[in-house]
């Protein structure tokens, strides 16, 4: 049984700092978060690529697969569903997802700790 706890919202940057269909890395309570602005909205996931262990997912290419918004790891190109964090190429692999929203022109992130 997974326990999920949520923390407070943290303001990260102005929305205009995010380029459409491109990610940035943010440091939220010591956690590296990959933040994306896509046509489907804002998404936040762990920046750590679970396959390589490197903190690089924010630098992946954003796109879609069968309608789902995705990011591809820049190291070995595994594709993740930005909504669920599930890897669409490797069954059983997933990346932690966080919550993201825009308030008054500021992008905010709230960590979810799944354990």
């Amino acid at each position: 049984m997974n326990q999920t706890s949520t923390l407070d919202w943290t303001a990260v940057c102005a929305l205009h700092r995010l380029e459409p269909d491109r990610g940035v890395a943010a440091l939220v309570d010591g956690v590296q978060v990959a933040l994306f602005r896509t046509a489907d909205g804002l998404f936040a996931i762990d920046n750590r690529d679970p396959v390589s262990g490197a903190y690089v997912l924010s630098r992946g290419i954003v796109g879609s697969r069968s309608g789902a918004p995705t990011v591809a790891s820049p190291l070995h190109k595994q594709v993740y569903d930005l909504r669920s964090g599930h890897c669409l190429d490797l069954p059983g692999v997933a990346v932690a997802r966080h919550e993201a929203r825009c308030r008054n022109g500021l992008v905010e992130v709230r960590l979810r700790q799944e354990g």
């Binding site: 940057c13 380029e19 940035v24 943010a26 796109g63 820049p74």
Partner: protein
């Protein structure tokens, strides 16, 4: 028989094929094999012998595959076989055998006329013969070839390439009398005339006369005329080398050759014969395919098999003096009551003949001159019903010859004896493309002429050869390029809205980014283009496994001043970068964090460096040897050309990375033939090679053009690169692109040398645009605060370096700490060096 001592006499193509075939069936080596070779070099590809004059080196013709335990005695011909003692004698010693395979091949037949022993008279059989011809041809003016068959025409072309005015004397009333009929020979002669080679048909050579210096000077012909000739090549046919067998008392065939039955065994149960020296059921075969068949039969028999000679496929397709000639089946219409269908087009100079059975239903054979594109299908149809109406089959593009109409028993690949049934079965088992079929059936892996049929059979089986790029675009990269180019589209969003679906992905976005860059659409990080780039292009550096980047400044041609070298050293020291010399004569600086990149570039750019594009699917480096400036062997300034080429093509985005090299002489120290385009200096100019590759699947580049001026060379490279950029598939290197091209290298030549598609002006203009619009991508970022903002560690904490990137030291340099590796992943271990142990 199942093992013991095996002696093979002869190391030609068939002798080597036999050793390979036996090794495949007897990998544990129950036969201890000794090969006695007359020549002092291992087996080479005699079929391609003439390629020697096109600049193909000896080592590239090499066929020898070393196998454990095979004793190869070069330069040690057998002198006698003692059947009673089961011993072969050479000048050096004796070799006992339990089984003996004769693979002595044949020798060039020299007609009994006066003067064949004169200096300047050669045969055309071995690499030594060719080297001697080349050496003797220096400074000579006129050459003559006795014999207008296959080998004679090859020799004539060789003399032509050596710069000699050339005559061909043929006793028969037409050229290539064995392969083609009278009308085909006449068509062939028109091509030969055009090349300036003079033919003398229906006449014999009666004598070869010396000049005042004792060397050959003239030929006397049976019609009373005389021809000047400083050099003569005798190519009047071959005869089996059966002297050893004759001396050993073995029976011979009616026209010579070691007599063997269908199992390729001689009258002595321990002795076998393969290849051109074997008279199988009395008949010798002078082609390599039947020779290979005999090698396979004997290899099979020696491991207890029951193979028999399947009969000789005498079909041939070749390119002589640039002309396609093919002949197959009953080419001369020897079958009783047979019917001919012929097609002659003097305008396009194409001749074709089909020989049909008396009811016109069964294909018996044929001759093709000038266009042999229908050959694979026609040859496979011999003995069966016609695959289409005769006129459709003979149409110049062979358009009617579709493999889909072949019966299951038709042999698709004659090199490897693969039938249509075999191919269909492999398709049913899931082979969905040509590479899979090649791997599964071996079809198309030798001469490759059946590859178009493999495609047709996939089509016929309904296997869709999808060229869709990804789920977002139904078209291939090549088609996408044309859409972008012709419609003038400059944004991904418009392209996907009008010609695709969805939002794109890591496959189509970098492809479109590359296409836009190739078409000159500004800086790769401008506007929407930034979101299309792979991380390497996005940060203009190379992502490494720990999330850090490496930086490679351009060092054109590998030439660098001490001052610049010091700057690189200082930058590496100050930013604590791991430093390594690359294979492309540059220096790679590893371990830079994102936010350090602009600071590093600043230092480098201020010292006169620019981006080396190591991160891009773009021109990487033009490597060079030191060339004639210093090297005592060099004949051209290879460094100067390499620098010029690297500066001309720097920043050129392509379907995949591009590598090049320039060597200053034929010693090839720059390894240019492993590059996408390689240049090797000659005494008078440059030779251009294309389509080479190192990497996963190494490939030697093909010789594309010879002795070019620098200006012509650059024009051809311009067009080669632009045509590649326009038409290659995604991530297809030039090697795969050249291999996959319909019509191969000849087609490529026709497009970029002869301008057959009328594209050249366009290609030239596109390259001119590239050259004039180049600017350094690093400097452009440094000059632009908006672009610079991307180079931060964290959007909300730009002063905090990425804490996951940490280094330890190894051999005096920083290397990544692998603490946060994948679960169960390996940790770095020190390399331990074992010392060899001495056993007493």
């Amino acid at each position: 028989m199942s093992g013991g001592d095996l002696v093979v006499i002869g190391n030609g193509m068939v002798g080597q094929r036999f050793v390979d075939a036996l090794h495949a069936r007897d990998p544990q080596g129950s036969w201890r094999v000794t090969v006695l070779a007359e020549e002092d070099r291992p087996a080479y590809d005699r079929v391609r012998l003439s390629a020697y004059f096109d600049g193909v080196s000896e080592s590239e013709l090499n066929l020898h595959t070393p196998h454990d335990g095979v004793r190869l005695r070069l330069g040690e011909p057998a002198t006698a076989v003692d059947r009673d003692r089961q011993v072969v004698t050479t000048a050096v010693g004796e070799y006992r055998y339990d089984a003996l395979v004769l693979a002595t091949g044949s020798y060039a037949f020299v007609p009994p006329v006066a003067g064949t022993e004169l200096p300047g008279v050669f045969v055309y059989r071995t690499l030594d013969d060719l080297a001697a011809i080349r050496a003797y041809a220096r400074g000579r003016r006129v050459g003559a070839v006795i014999g207008g068959g296959l080998l004679g025409l090859e020799a004539a072309n060789a003399l032509r390439l050596l710069g000699l005015s050339t005559d061909v004397v043929e006793f028969a009333p037409r050229l290539m009398p064995v392969q083609v009929d009278q009308a085909g020979g006449a068509m062939l002669r028109r091509y030969v005339d055009e090349l300036g080679v003079r033919t003398h048909l229906g006449v014999a050579t009666t004598a070869i006369r010396p000049g005042p210096d004792g060397g050959v000077a003239a030929l006397e012909l049976s019609d009373g005329t005389a021809l000047d000739a400083d050099l003569v090549v005798v190519a009047a046919g071959i005869r089996p080398r059966d002297q050893l067998a004759r001396d050993a008392g073995l029976p011979l065939g009616p026209r010579g050759g070691v007599l063997v039955d269908a199992t390729c065994r001689t009258a002595d149960e321990r002795i076998w014969a393969v290849g051109e020296c074997a008279a199988v059921d009395g008949t010798c075969h002078g082609l390599v395919a039947p020779g290979y068949a005999t090698a396979e039969v004997v290899a099979d028999r020696l491991v207890g098999g029951a193979a028999t000679f399947p009969g000789a496929d005498t079909a041939t397709k070749l390119k002589l003096l640039g002309v396609d000639v093919a002949s197959f089946g009953d080419a001369h219409g020897a079958t009783e009551g047979c019917l001919d269908v012929t097609f002659t087009d003097p305008a396009t100079r194409v001749y074709a003949k089909l020989v049909l059975s008396d009811d016109a239903h069964t294909l018996l054979g044929g001759v093709l001159v000038g266009d042999a594109s229908a050959y694979p299908t026609l040859r496979a149809s011999v003995g069966g019903p016609l695959p289409a109406a005769p006129l459709a089959l003979l149409a110049p593009d062979g358009g009617g010859a579709d493999a889909g109409a072949l019966p299951a028993t038709a042999q698709v690949c004659s090199c490897n004896a693969v039938t249509r049934g075999d191919v269909d079965a492999a398709i049913a088992d899931g082979c969905a493309d040509v590479p899979a079929l090649k791997a599964c059936t071996r079809a198309g892996t030798s001469c490759g002429s059946c590859v178009p049929m493999l495609k047709q059979l996939l089509d016929a089986a309904g296997v869709a050869q999808s060229s869709a790029l990804c789920e977002h675009f139904d078209v291939s990269r090549r088609e996408l390029f044309e859409i972008v180019r012709v419609r003038g589209i400059r944004t991904f969003s418009r392209l996907i809205a009008e010609h695709g679906r969805g939002r794109g992905c890591d496959i189509c976005k970098p492809v479109v980014a590359s296409i836009l860059a190739s078409l000159g659409s500004g800086h790769v990080l401008d506007g929407e283009q930034a979101s299309l780039q792979d991380t390497n292009d996005h940060f203009l550096a190379n992502l490494q496994r720990d999330g850090s980047y490496s930086v490679v400044p351009r060092i054109p041609g590998g030439e660098i001043t001490p001052e610049k070298l010091i700057v690189i050293g200082e930058v590496a020291r100050d930013f604590q970068l791991y430093t390594k010399i690359t294979g492309g004569q540059r220096i790679d600086l590893f371990g830079a964090r994102v936010e350090q990149l602009p600071q590093i570039w600043r230092r480098l750019v201020d010292a006169g460096f620019e981006s080396g594009h190591a991160y891009g699917k773009a021109l990487r480096t033009v490597k060079s040897c030191v060339g004639e400036t210093w090297c005592r062997y060099g004949v051209q300034d290879s460094v100067g050309l390499a620098v010029a080429l690297e500066l001309r093509y720097r920043g050129l985005r392509a379907p995949h990375k591009l590598k090049s090299a320039v060597s200053g002489c034929a010693r090839e120290c720059a390894e240019a033939r492993s590059k996408d385009f390689g240049i090797i200096a000659t005494e008078t100019g440059w030779n251009l090679y294309v389509g080479g590759n190192g990497g996963f699947r190494p490939r030697h580049a093909d010789l594309f053009a010879t002795d070019l001026s620098t200006e012509t060379l650059i024009r051809l490279i311009d067009r080669f690169l632009m045509y590649y950029i326009r038409t290659a598939d995604r991530l297809q290197r030039t090697a795969g692109w050249v291999e996959a091209m319909d019509g191969g290298l000849d087609h490529l030549r026709s497009v970029i040398v002869d301008d057959s598609l009328g594209l050249c002006a366009d290609l030239d203009a596109a390259m001119a645009r590239h050259v004039s619009s180049y600017s350094d991508e690093w400097r452009d970022v440094l000059d632009d605060p908006d672009r610079l903002r991307r180079y931060t560690s964290f959007v909300n904490a730009p002063d905090v370096p990425d804490p996951s990137i940490t280094f330890t030291r190894e051999r005096g340099q920083p290397v990544p700490v692998r603490a946060d590796g994948p679960p169960g992943g390996h940790r770095r271990q020190p390399v331990t060096l074992g010392l060899p142990e001495v056993r007493r």
